[in-house]
């Protein structure tokens, strides 16, 4: 049966078919839908872990216990989980273990660009790199089999275009039934990585990767497609699609396993074509392995110093980019209109991502922008506090970085009072140890935990604070305020995220103290179904508004400048779009002329 599935849905289906019974992960674009989909299948356990390292440990534990398991994350999540990746590579497993890394070339929704195929080489584990949803499905099944055959974790490396592209997939209704359950291993030489054991294991895994390398020669997803002998292309992952599109007549060596590579097959392929190129996205990962075999890779008119031949090392590829590079390298004739059309005579207004109308993070950011203090941000919707007109985020690096960075600036003697802003899910992810550090090492950092009751930016996933699991079960709701107080903070307060006055009063008071403090701004995300039920669009009373612009400074997409002008100052009046306004009242609170009606003023009018 053929179905249109996204790469992520296909991985979930493949994992189910392969008999995986445990999936753990942390949400992150473009990986999130894998576990969300897997969680819906019968006979599986799926969970959101607080972070990727915990997720991978969970999958490892399940695989030690003889059950097929996998962990999912975005590329930068594997940095967090790297510690676990390396010990799992050393110990091996009792049942199939797959690590899914969803890379984000061009950083559509990420802080840095990295090629996680490198992790496979670094940890000496095989890496599979699918080119479409069918392969995402099939490679997932292969990955579990390979894992057991060679007693190794396997890295399934996806990219945004594979994750979020839907293509047709042939699936089966049959599910692999794992062999009988085993007793949890007491094999300390293999599973206890004290130095004496670890030293022995390092030799074992170096030998293992040699064996996988031999196996790669016959791995069915490494294949030669012979067409014209004039040009041969070695490629893997999504780049295969661009190779077929731009060079329809070329011969192709398509590597499903990009580490380790089949050296005999590569040599054979190279000998069958007149000119050999490597086409891959991001790092010259395959190319370096090919060149180490002593094989000449055609570089066009490039100088020998550049580390990657012909195609860009930065950013996502597409057929157009591949075509332009190929023309420059003299591989194909310039037949297309690739000159890049520019719109002339129009200034195109940008549409940057913004905090949504009714976003509960807006209140604190409005206050922070007034206070003009340095604000160290973190990863989540609230990173958007950086945008105009709020301009209230000044650093943002990775998950959980805000608090540590603020502490670092403070202990370095920076004279300004540092604020760290972190979301609820990010607090659970890696915020807690950094917060302990603030307390233990006595800096004066003010931390604001913006608790919108959900993991927001990745599309509303549950987390330890929501009281629900990934599979919809009721569970404990970890109370952030109690956790913070239990650590030993004395200045801790929870306020409503929309309560501008209270947030401002509290922060101003704390700025005068020398101790650290934690403010929790709590209000559910305005896009949650329960929140949507409560929308009451507010109204501007034109007679009272004089166009003072105060309400524009909250940066809400629902408020704009109307075409009507204030008669005295000739300034545009404010107007609220009822289709966008949720009635959060932040604008009404900041209006100095009471020109914006509050919910309880709008409601009676509607009832009349």
């Amino acid at each position: 049966m053929k179905r249109l599935l996204s790469g992520n849905e296909a991985v979930a289906r493949g994992a189910w078919t392969a008999g995986a019974v445990v999936g753990s992960g942390y949400p992150g674009t473009p990986s999130t839908e894998i576990l969300e989909t897997f969680a819906l299948y019968p006979g599986v356990y799926a969970e959101w872990a607080p972070n990727e390292k915990v997720a991978l440990d969970v999958a490892i534990g399940a695989a030690y216990a003889g059950r097929r398991a996998f962990a999912t994350m975005k590329h930068v999540g594997l940095n967090v989980a790297a510690d676990s990746l390396f010990y799992a590579a050393m110990t091996g497993i009792e049942a199939g273990l797959v690590i899914v890394s969803a890379d984000d070339p061009s950083m559509h929704s990420s802080q840095n660009e990295q090629d996680n195929r490198q992790y496979a080489k670094f940890a000496r584990i095989p890496c599979l790199d699918p080119a479409d949803s069918q392969e995402a499905h099939d490679f997932t099944i292969s990955a579990f089999n390979l894992s057991e055959q060679f007693d190794t974790p396997v890295l399934l490396r996806l990219t945004t275009r594979v994750c979020h592209t839907s293509t047709t997939v042939e699936i089966t209704e049959q599910r692999f039934t794992p062999s009988e359950r085993i007793k949890y291993p007491r094999n300390i030489a293999k599973y206890v990585m004290v130095p004496a054991n670890a030293r022995r294991r390092h030799g074992v895994i170096e030998h293992r990767i040699q064996e996988v390398s031999q196996y790669a020669e016959t791995f069915p997803h490494n294949r030669m497609e012979m067409r014209s002998p004039r040009l041969g292309i070695i490629t893997g992952g999504i780049a295969y699609q661009y190779a077929r599109e731009v060079f329809p007549d070329a011969s192709i060596l398509k590597l499903g396993m990009v580490y380790p590579v089949p050296s005999k097959m590569i040599k054979q392929f190279a000998s069958m074509v007149e000119r050999l190129i490597v086409l891959e996205e991001l790092d010259p990962f395959i190319e370096h392995q090919v060149r180490l075999l002593g094989i000449d890779v055609y570089r066009g008119n490039q100088d020998l110093d550049s580390s990657k031949s012909i195609f860009p090392v930065v950013g996502e590829l597409n057929a157009q980019i591949v075509r332009v590079s190929a023309i420059e390298a003299g591989l194909i004739q310039d037949i297309h209109d690739h000159e890049g059309f520019q719109i002339s005579g129009v200034e195109l207004p940008q549409r940057p991502p913004v905090l949504c109308p009714g976003c509960p993070h807006r209140g604190a950011f409005f206050v922070l922008s007034k206070l003009k203090v340095p604000v160290n941000g973190d990863i989540g919707c609230y990173t958007l506090g950086l945008t105009e007109p709020l301009n209230a985020i000044h650093t943002c690096g990775c998950m959980g970085a805000s608090i540590g960075v603020a502490h670092g600036a403070a202990v370095a003697g920076d004279q300004e009072r540092h604020v760290a802003v972190v979301g609820d899910s990010t607090f659970f992810h890696t915020g807690i140890p950094a917060l302990i550090n603030v307390l233990y090492n006595r800096s004066n950092v003010i931390t604001i935990i913006m608790d919108n009751r959900v993991t927001g930016m990745t599309g509303h996933q549950d987390n330890p604070g929501t009281g629900k699991t990934l599979q919809g079960k009721e569970t404990v709701e970890v109370d952030i305020e109690k956790v913070v107080k239990a650590l030993g903070f004395t200045h801790v307060k929870t306020v409503n995220g929309y309560d501008v006055e209270n947030i401002e009063k509290t922060l101003k008071e704390w700025m005068k103290m020398t101790e650290p403090a934690v403010l929790i701004t709590r209000e559910e995300c305005a896009l949650l179904p329960e929140a949507r039920m409560k929308y009451v669009p507010l109204e501007v009373i034109e007679e009272k508004c004089n166009g003072c612009t105060m309400c524009f400074r909250v940066g809400c997409p629902a408020i704009s400048k109307s075409e009507k002008l204030d008669p005295q100052y000739q300034r545009p009046l404010a107007v609220i779009d009822p289709a966008l306004c949720t009635g959060c009242e932040i604008c009404a609170q900041v209006c100095p002329r009471d020109a914006i009606l509050f919910r309880n003023q709008v409601l009676p009018k509607a009832e009349v």
Binding site: L4, R161, T165, S166, S344, L384, E388, L527, S560
Partner: protein, 195 residues
């Protein structure tokens, strides 16, 4: 057949992704190979959204580069302009006569271009431009959220695709409780005549 490449653009919350699901399903029902690629950006609401649908036999690249799109379907006027460079010379544009001001405009920093400016820019590239009052039509049906189906109805009509394929695709893609409303919208778009 030659590949037919559609770029669908809009603003977060307008149903751009759902419309591309519909178009992808129609391609499958026509017996074609289909790929659909979307980008999930940083913001849930109010950001620019783009989705690519490619029909062909077979389709390799799911991504549409500069000057490669046969058809541009814009659910918001400014977004039509933003993604115009993707359209091939003599391509088609379906544009919803609907404006959503970005924050850069409402804050007074930039100016939203007028319809004539947009039309003139589109003319530099497109051989056919259809301005469709999809939001108005959807509002009459009872919910502006089905403006996306109105647009797809108009696309089916122009591409001379049997309406039956649209109905079948709706059944596969849209949840049962919203099917009737979307069917009305698809029909209204299909029957809509430019003045």
């Amino acid at each position: 057949m030659e590949n037919h490449r559609f770029v669908l653009v809009g603003v977060g919350g307008q149903g751009t992704i759902l419309a591309s699901n519909l178009l992808a399903e129609i391609g499958l029902l026509l017996g074609l190979d289909v790929k659909k690629a979307e980008i999930h950006g940083m913001s849930q609401r109010g950001g620019s959204v783009v989705s690519n649908v490619v029909w062909g036999n077979p389709v390799y690249s799911p991504v549409i580069g500069q000057g490669e799109a046969d058809t541009l379907i814009a659910f918001e006027k400014l977004e039509a302009l933003r993604y115009l460079p993707l359209l091939k010379l003599s391509g088609r544009v379906f544009i919803n006569c609907h404006k959503i001001e970005p924050i850069t405009v409402s804050s007074g920093k930039q100016v939203y271009p007028g319809d004539t400016v947009i039309e003139n820019a589109l003319r530099q590239r497109a051989s056919m431009i259809l301005w469709i009052p999809a939001n108005e039509i959807a509002e009459k049906i009872g919910n502006i959220r089905v403006a996306n189906s109105v647009m797809i109805g108009a696309v089916l009509k122009t591409l001379e695709i049997d309406f039956e394929y649209g109905i079948k695709a709706l059944e596969k893609v849209i949840q049962p409780q919203y099917r009737e409303l979307n069917l009305q919208a698809l029909t209204a778009g299909f029957e809509w005549q430019p003045e």
